[in-house]
């Protein structure tokens, strides 16, 4: 690492080590919607009002801490003490946190300050009053909770630890050391081999080995090559990629640059969903800060590598998550997929060799480089290595973002991490993979979660949405919900998908409206088979999955809709 960055890093480490009490407030989308901007405001103005020195206390904005259903989350780190985590912290409780964790205010200094503003004084009084209040303890979250204890964090390892908008903070957490290592110690071929050896597979859904993809692109001869970060996370019920970009945009950028070095790319784009303004903002900021410090640009960290990155915003088309459609969209056209081959690694963006990787895939790269392929390969199952981030949502006590080793059973995810279905209702099915996936019933809860096992159950890993339904959900109705989505999102290029999905939905409508006839289920299965075998792209090929998997495991619910 060059001197400038090392100095920046050491200065930040020294600064952080000095601070007595650091209060971290989650400002990711989920917590913001639960009101964390007010929490943050109270914490910040409270610390300011009490006139602490810089080394006494600081408030840090952080990205997602996982337990989104209990937001806004606040974490307190005091020198020499175990950390404290609190959930559902509103402005009132934020005062109590300040009262509990910070020393008494520096009144004397406050009074000697030249202005006697009313507001800080009022705030100081409020904090003093909060000292007498109890109740904060009810909001404490035990860090040893199964929700946290059962997780293995690689992609989310800095979750709750760093300020996503600060490059020095990322450097202080060993940021860009992996990039530094590949630039100075490894050849592009070695990088590809390392990633191949780690067994990392694409986290966007299809599960193609990442190292292999890079090898293909590296072997192409071209004047210019591109890297694209696929942040067009369209699956309803999934928000892993958005959270990763919101909590640690520099990690994604670093992974992207390592990919660029490995294949010899000189430019890259981060394609992010238009519905994710905070992610767009933070990625843009990361790119700008990195450029200022010479991490991006003509001479990457003082080496001969040249690389530039930019953000492109999606405009709300699910199919643009498909790589060839995404390329069309960056080129300013309708985002319609095309036939493969040629694969993007041969002819992609502007017909140049292009590697497209999912956000989570790229965020996994720096730890693999830092800690080695063997370490990564030691986690997970034989064919699925490492960890997977899931957005665990639906009818659960603990909804949020989790990262678990591949091969963990669904039962552990639902009951230990998710904390079971609330109320009297019972677990019915786990829906994975969004509209391209399927429903897994209670009888298969002990299945280890990996690419192969989920495929066998007629579902897919997908990007990582995991929605839990309870006994109140009707499966045929649930299938129609997904088919509605596919009808809406079909780009209309190929007939099986455009027409087939409409026909499937019509049949489901007919059944649900009580007009079902004998033979309808067979007809439904046949159309599903045609759509899945003859569609052009992944969206069409997987569109019937929700219907087929519910037909397989909950057939009696469909049969109940037929005349007896």
């Amino acid at each position: 690492m060059n001197e400038k960055l090392t100095a920046l890093r050491e200065k930040e480490i020294a600064r952080q080590a000095e601070v007595e009490c650091r209060i971290f407030c989650c400002t990711s989308t989920a917590c913001l919607s639960s009101g964390s901007s007010e929490t943050l405001n109270v914490l910040e103005s409270g610390v300011k009002a009490q006139n602490y020195q810089h080394h006494e206390a600081e408030v840090v904005q952080i990205g997602c801490m996982g337990l989104c259903s209990k937001g806004p989350l606040v974490r307190v780190e005091t020198k020499g003490k175990p950390e404290d985590i609190y959930g559902s912290i509103d402005g009132e409780l934020a005062l109590q946190i300040l009262a509990k964790h910070l020393p008494r205010s520096n009144q004397s200094k406050g009074e000697s300050a030249k202005e006697q503003d009313d507001k800080p004084a009022q705030l100081r009084e409020k904090i003093a009053a909060a000292r007498k209040k109890r109740g904060l303890i009810r909001n404490a979250i035990n860090p040893d909770l199964p929700f946290y204890a059962k997780q293995t964090k690689i992609v989310l390892s800095e979750s709750g630890l760093l300020n996503p908008e600060s490059l020095p903070d990322y450097l202080a957490h060993d940021g860009y050391t992996a990039l530094d290592k590949v630039l100075n110690e490894m050849t592009p071929e070695q990088v590809c081999n390392e990633i191949l050896a780690s067994g990392l597979r694409g986290r966007g859904g299809a599960g193609f080995p990442t190292g292999q993809k890079w090898h293909f692109a590296r072997n192409e001869v071209s004047d210019i090559k591109y890297v694209i970060v696929n942040g067009d996370e369209g699956d309803p019920g999934a928000y892993m990629d958005r959270t990763i970009m919101e909590y640690n945009p520099h990690r994604v950028l670093e992974g992207m640059m390592i990919a660029a070095y490995a294949i010899g790319a000189s430019a890259g784009f981060a394609y992010i969903r238009g519905e994710y303004p905070i992610a767009v903002d933070r990625m843009r900021r990361a790119i700008r800060d990195a450029r200022r410090q010479g991490i991006l640009g003509k001479s990457v960290m003082g080496t001969e590598m040249s690389f530039n990155a930019d953000v492109r915003i999606g405009a709300g088309a699910f199919v643009c998550g498909e790589e060839t459609a995404l390329i069309q969209s960056i080129e300013g056209k309708r985002g319609m997929p095309r036939m493969r081959p040629p694969y993007p690694s041969q002819s992609g963006l502007w017909s140049k060799p292009t590697v497209i990787n999912n956000v989570e895939t790229l965020a996994s790269i720096p730890p693999i480089i830092q800690r080695g392929a063997d370490w990564f390969a030691s986690i997970g199952t034989e064919k699925s290595k490492g960890t997977k981030v899931f957005a665990l949502t639906g009818q659960l006590t603990n909804a949020g973002l989790i990262e678990v080793p591949m091969g963990i059973s669904l039962r552990e995810i639902v009951y230990d991490i998710g904390g079971d279905v609330p109320g009297d209702a019972e677990f019915k099915a786990a829906q994975t993979g969004g509209p391209s996936g399927g429903c897994i019933p209670a009888s298969h809860l002990d299945t280890p979660v990996d690419y192969e096992n989920l495929n066998e159950l007629g579902s897919i890993m997908g990007s990582g949405g995991l929605v839990i339904t309870d006994s109140t959900t009707s499966m045929p109705e649930f299938a129609r919900f997904f088919m509605d989505f596919c009808v809406d999102e079909s780009c209309g290029k190929c007939v099986p998908c455009r027409v087939g999905t409409v026909q499937i939905r019509a049949l489901l409508d007919k059944l649900l409206e009580g007009r079902g006839e004998a033979g309808d289920l067979e007809r439904l299965e046949e159309i599903c088979r045609v759509v899945s075998t003859t569609s052009l792209c992944g969206l069409g090929q997987s569109a019937p999955n929700p219907v087929l998997s519910t037909l397989r495991f909950f057939r009696e619910e469909y049969e109940a809709l037929l005349p007896s």
Binding site: S33, T393, A399
Partner: protein
Amino acid sequence: MAKKQSSNGKSRPKRTHPSGDERYTVIDRTMKRFKYEKDALVEVLHATQETFGFLSEDLLIYISSNLRVPLSQVYGVATFYHLFTFEPLGKHNCIICTGTACHVKGSAEIVSALSQRFDVKVGSTTDDGLFSLSTARCLGSCGIAPVVVLDGGILGKVMAEAMVKTIDEILLEEGEIQSTGEASP
């Protein structure tokens, strides 16, 4: 053509749109940033919608002639993507998330409650232009489902009844309830 313009883009005299509408400069600036490349179409549409709120026919024609992209293609691209709208939104705007997690948590009830109470179909605006109702496919706040975006602010764990009440109050506060109130029993 586009390439040629980009090379002397700087020397073009500064001009405003004949209508005198200053907002057109935002479109111009975006096109300039991308050197009037045709590839910038989606980005230009984004900037335009952000500035004007929706894409009118005039705006599409303006973009078409400046980027040298056939109008049919501009229209084709703009209609392909869900985020672009061609009609102005109502004064108050409510987007209900109908993603999987929100669906499981009952977002359909919210949709039907609001559309009944305010007599407005999903994806349209009340006749008086005060209230627009639309749905979205997952806003990525699944941890706090069901989610509603009301006038730009995200609300989590929403109950249908409370939502109707909130919007009732907003409209009432502005003395706007008369027109929508008649529609309800």
